[in-house]
Symmetry: C2
Subunit: 224 residues, 2 copies
Amino acid sequence: MTERTRTAPRQAEAERNDRALLEAARRALALDGAHASVAAIASRAGVGIGSLYRRYRTKEELFQRLCVLALDHWIDAAEQGLAHEDPWAGIVHHVSACVDFGPGTMAPIAGTIEVTEEMAARADRCDEVTRALVSRAHAAGVLRPDVTATDLYLLVEQLGRSPLPWQIADQGRDELLGAATEARARVVAIALEGLRAGTVTPLPGRPPDAGLLRDRWEPLPAAG
Amino acid sequence: MTERTRTAPRQAEAERNDRALLEAARRALALDGAHASVAAIASRAGVGIGSLYRRYRTKEELFQRLCVLALDHWIDAAEQGLAHEDPWAGIVHHVSACVDFGPGTMAPIAGTIEVTEEMAARADRCDEVTRALVSRAHAAGVLRPDVTATDLYLLVEQLGRSPLPWQIADQGRDELLGAATEARARVVAIALEGLRAGTVTPLPGRPPDAGLLRDRWEPLPAAG
DNA sequence: GAAAAACGGAGCGAAGCACTCCGTTTGGCA
DNA sequence: TGCCAAACGGAGTGCTTCGCTCCGTTTTTC
């Protein structure tokens, strides 16, 4: 098959624009949460509003797509972690990769958009793969035994919500961007160290229920 | 002086309202960042908009007051930490107390309000007292030596930005609120464990510059 | 029962929102 | 070279939400 994968230049631009849009949406969401506006996203991506709406029929559709990508990223990071021979290195890889993408960024829009089947399926797979990562590390004795997969999720969500790098980028203080990213990496390293086995102080309270993370996404039953 | 501190009932209500306003503002800021609206704050506090504006001439003034309170809280927590005999317990107390109040909540409005002298003075004192807490722990050998005061600040800011409890409260899922708070405490405990001396992996990169935290608050020099 | 003080919220002009519509630009092809 | 389809950017639209003012009401005091 001598299939020519020649991409038309206009089509290539469209693809670049799509990537820029999703990246911009991710940043806007990290900075402004649920109040992120389509105008801000398009402008940040260097793309006209018209082009945004040619690709996504509504703002909600764009956000849903972004959620799918974030979940995919999470799954990939976990699978790559499982591919590591060293279970501890697997955890480290997973957490670091997730924090960089920032799945916690999606949390603020929980409950404001409809959960598609695509999203739900990805979320299930997330649970699966994360639990596998955690139990392998538990079995190897490298992860503190009282940490659950839900604990890990919350930690990653928390660490990924650092607005500092994006805030600095948004303010145009580019000379500080490297320093901000480095600083965040240090915080992640500290937290990772706290996950290691061999600690003395047990975690407080009961292990968190996984439903805690899911329920946010369901529409509210009724108003009081 | 037999000064009668009898408080008029109407004056007591005013005080209660003020407290409710500040608490509501804190929550609104945690949930909506810089987009938090005065209407939402007043409504959440169960107070009329008119009453809000009788106490604070502008939204900015309210936020400035809130920043002062947050900085005071930070300072108090550090001083109480220093009062502990055990340097490690001091760190733990400081971090836990700060996360509960959530000074990281103020980060999103950095650069959108003018920094008053009151705020600047408090910020200086914060630096001072935090550095004291950290160096005492370093001297005692209980805090990992490569952690700086700025690292600690970033960690606390990060941990304090957990939106989960407030998000759940906002959605009216009160039955989950306790679980959410407990879950957050576990994450904090994990991070604290990572601060302990005796860890093997050194922190990546160079120690962060303190200016990283300050520059956000200064108005931008000019638009590109 | 009148003055003072604190209250809640309707209303205002301005700003911001999601989204539509359309004139322009670009590359492929006869 | 001229024409068409495709992708483009952004002004315009109706509507919501914003910060804030203004005012009628309620409560306390004397």
